[in-house]
């Protein structure tokens, strides 16, 4: 096993231990906050595969989360499907949607792709409202009415332990996040990952090496959308209510912020990104109670990170590690 892989494994194990023992040390409310960190982490892992590995910018992943979230909500409220069961379905639905979008989108370069995905994020609430029959229109779908399908009323029993809703959600979100991370790691190490990176570094060279450009880029879109779908499903389960404003344009932007802050792809970087997305509005409130404060801080942070830290948080962490250890750069897989 190479040094890089060993390091990744160690980090993974350490993080897993911390994550799974955390609820014992924090109160219920904090656990809920950290569940959201886990949910954002799932979305960020997917977005990172897209942006970091194939170099495609997406400003629309909030819309994919919406697809996942609404899939879950519709399945639960209209078809009585249990919450956990809806997650794989949401993953598949969103993944396919992402792939189908990715096929024509493969022809768009950097800025134009950002533009197109941004437009999707802005337009999604209108589309949701338009198809009221399906989506409950402006009033959305309420999942409080189906408590038997969630853990909100009946506590879940696992290994003889009884979990509160918040704890159950926490473990669900983080399990999916960690499994998702492992799958992602395996993916980028393999042939698919190499094809992704080839596309990012030089499309012309990739094509000359036999990589099908459209399929590869669309595959990356599909995979990242699948992750977003999972995150959206979890989000719906967590908030027990979805409406067109649950997944606003700001969410898509914040996801991109998370990826930028995280830098390129190590687990710890992405966790920092997810923490940033979840807790930043709260920290911003300390500066000013005004509702505008979080956006100002997000925006300023974004600009500062790009101007000052080309490698994002992962780059910063890597540099710090370099100071404490002689040897090579911390390499992500």
């Amino acid at each position: 096993m190479s040094r890089a892989t060993l390091r990744t494994l160690i980090v993974f194990v350490v993080v897993s231990v911390i994550v799974f023992t955390l609820p014992a040390f924090v109160n219920d409310f904090r656990a809920q906050q950290f569940s959201y960190v886990g949910i954002y982490l799932v979305a960020l892992i997917g977005l990172n595969i897209l942006t970091g590995y194939t170099g495609q910018i997406s400003l629309g992943h909030g819309a994919f989360m919406a697809i996942g979230g609404y899939t879950t909500a519709i399945l639960m409220s209209d078809h009585g499907v249990k919450d956990i069961v809806t997650i794989p379905i949401a993953i598949v639905v969103t993944g396919v949607a992402g792939f189908l979008f990715g096929l024509p989108a493969a022809r768009l370069s950097g800025l134009y792709l950002a533009l197109a995905t941004f437009a999707i994020a802005v337009a999604m609430p209108s589309v949701i409202k338009r198809f009221e029959g399906f989506t409950g229109g402006g009033s959305g779908i309420n999942l409080f009415g189906t408590p038997e399908l969630t853990a909100s009323l009946t506590p879940v029993r696992l290994f003889g332990f009884e979990l509160t809703f918040n704890n159950w959600l926490y473990y669900l979100a983080w399990s999916i996040a960690m499994i998702g991370y492992v799958i992602g790691w395996l993916l980028v190490r393999g042939r698919t990952g190499r094809a992704f990176r080839a596309v990012r570094d030089s499309e012309t060279a990739a094509v000359s090496s036999g990589v099908s450009l459209a399929r590869t880029k669309a595959l990356a879109f599909g995979i990242s959308a699948a992750y977003a779908g999972a995150a959206g499903a979890l989000f719906a389960i967590a908030t027990t209510y979805v409406n067109p404003d649950t997944f606003p344009v700001a969410l898509s932007i914040f996801l991109l912020v998370g990826v930028v802050v995280a830098g390129l792809g190590s687990l710890q970087g992405l966790i920092v990104g997810a923490i940033f997305i979840q807790f930043m509005p709260l920290w911003a409130q300390n500066i000013s109670k005004s509702p505008g404060a979080p956006a100002v801080v997000y925006g300023a942070f974004l600009i500062l990170v790009v101007l000052a830290l080309p490698g994002g948080a992962a780059g910063l962490i890597a540099r710090v590690l370099q100071l404490t250890r002689r040897g090579r750069d911390f390499q992500k897989p």
């Binding site: 910018i57 022809r107 800025l111 950002a114 209108s126 338009r130 080309p310």
Partner: protein, 294 residues
């Protein structure tokens, strides 16, 4: 039939606004190669400045308009020098992210300073309509069209006939050669941003009376402007204006006569325009097809 003409006229008015904002986008894209996601928020912020001048400081409309334009110019120039210049030569992702950061900051700042309260804004044009051949035409629409037209003409004259305009054009397309003849390119690019901000401010001030002033007011206008710019050709100023007009009139007519779209789906319809154009003819109506250098 009368309704058709009415829709066309109001379509031209809204199309003029889209065209102005699209022109701003094209200006910046030609000069610095950047898609400025913050263009709408910059316009919104300027509109708030105008509103504050007229409401809280008793300045009358047209003087406030002029002051706002000056402030926008300074703001656009300043933003370019402060946060765009350091990154404009780097990767596209970084610049996109900076403009998104600007988007967030300006939106948040506007909410912070003036709260998210939705406000009604008075139009500088008289209300009501007049009739031509049985068709009712709103004074506001005519006024809007006139202002847009004037703005476009002034811009065109500036670029065609002045030394600075020529220098800006040169700096936009051949920055290295422009430096060799003595043009201070970074200054010119900042100038371009300033002018784009002015166009955006005009677009914002023309939009406010009809949609009410709030921090999110320009977000859908930005999408329409993107659609217009893409339709016309992202590097073509004529394309931006023509694209805006086509889009304004087209969306109005489709919205009126195609029930399925109605008024809810105007935005997704614009999105569809963007996607279709980018896939079928990325260069737009007036742009030159890009040949990728291997």
């Amino acid at each position: 039939m009368a309704q058709f003409f009415q829709q066309v006229v109001s379509g031209i008015a809204s199309g003029g606004i889209y065209g102005l904002l699209a022109l701003a986008l094209v200006l910046i894209h030609r000069a610095t190669g950047v898609v400025n996601f913050a263009q709408g928020e910059m316009a919104m912020f300027a509109t708030y400045i105008a509103w504050t001048l007229t409401t809280n400081h008793g300045v009358s409309y047209w003087p406030a308009f002029a002051i706002t334009l000056l402030a926008s110019f300074a703001g656009g120039f300043g933003i370019h020098q402060a946060v765009i210049r350091p990154v404009e030569r780097g990767s596209q992702i970084r610049v996109v992210i900076v403009t998104i950061g600007l988007l967030l900051m300006l939106n948040g700042l506007a909410t912070w300073i003036w709260t998210g309260e939705v406000r009604a804004v008075q139009s500088p044009f008289p209300g009501g309509t007049f009739e031509i051949g049985g068709v009712a035409i709103a004074y506001a629409d005519v006024g809007t069209i006139a202002v847009c037209f004037a703005a476009v003409i002034v811009m065109w004259a500036f670029f065609q006939f002045t030394k600075v305009g020529l220098a800006l054009r040169a700096a936009a397309v051949n920055p290295n050669e422009a430096r060799l003849v003595g043009v201070r390119v970074p200054l010119m690019l900042g100038l371009g941003w300033g002018l784009a901000a002015v166009l955006g401010a005009i677009a914002g001030m023309l939009t406010a009376p009809s949609v009410f002033l709030d921090p999110n007011m320009m977000q859908s206008v930005l999408i329409y402007a993107f659609a217009a710019a893409v339709l016309g050709g992202i590097d073509s100023p004529i394309g931006a204006v023509v694209g805006g007009l086509i889009l304004g009139v087209g969306l109005n007519l489709i919205g009126t006569y195609v029930d399925f779209i109605g008024s809810d789906l105007r935005l997704p319809a614009a999105l569809l325009v963007i996607l279709i154009v980018l896939l079928v003819r990325p260069a737009g109506l007036f742009g030159k097809p890009e040949v990728k250098k291997v």
